[in-house]
Amino acid sequence: MIWQLDLIILLMVVICGISAISIRDLLGSAIMFGAYSFMMCLLWSIMGAVDVSFTEASVGAGVSTVFFVAAVFRTTRRTRD
């Protein structure tokens, strides 16, 4: 575990999480959530959990983002908060 890389990725995880819940556009929010999941996958491969890492990369960053984008396209992009 390289602690410099770990700290940088942790900071980016927190930034991506905050921006995912504060962007006033649901499509941008879904994309930021995909970035959050990918940063989380990098964090787990740094910590040595490679099986969790590639499951998260395929399921969290892939399928979840597709679900969010499909749901946003079938409903609305508008949000007030």
């Binding site: 499951t55 679900f67 969010f68 749901a71």
Partner: protein, 143 residues
């Protein structure tokens, strides 16, 4: 003071876990939009998975695959040389469960949108009260 600083610096993964849990709880409670609430739920789940994976991590350890397993079998295996793989295996299940809950939650949000025409929680409550004022009035107090 020195001990507190050492504690904060040495356990920074757990501070990040606490921060992410607070972000997820804030999004679930304070945001009015249903999709934002679902994103908050997912951030909460990944924070808990990060907590469990941080428990299994060790400094100076390698992946949990035994070195020189074939050939010379007669050597000792030190547990401190390998990362604990048990939390990883448990959290593999949690990731799949989180995707299943995400699919169900988004399907429910889409049904709510097709029925009420909005994803905002307060607008939905207003439409419920406009649509059935007598039923809300007879059923006692509401929010």
């Amino acid at each position: 003071m020195e001990a507190i600083t050492t504690l904060i610096i040495a356990k920074y993964n757990y501070w990040a876990v606490i921060l992410l849990i607070v972000i997820g709880l804030y999004a679930m409670i304070a945001k009015k939009n249903l999709v934002k609430k679902i994103i908050g739920m997912n951030i909460f789940q990944t924070a808990i998975i990060l907590f469990y994976v941080s428990i299994g991590a060790k400094r100076g350890a390698t992946l949990p695959i035994i070195v020189h397993a074939h050939g010379d079998a007669a050597h000792a295996i030190h547990a401190a040389d390998y990362i604990n793989p048990l939390p990883h295996v448990l959290m593999l299940t949690a990731i799949v469960v989180s995707v299943a809950t995400l699919g169900v939650a988004l399907a429910l949000a889409m049904k709510i949108y097709f029925h009420y025409g909005t994803l905002e929680e307060d607008e939905i409550q207003k439409k419920i009260m406009d649509r059935e004022p007598d039923k809300v009035a007879t059923s006692g107090e509401h929010l």
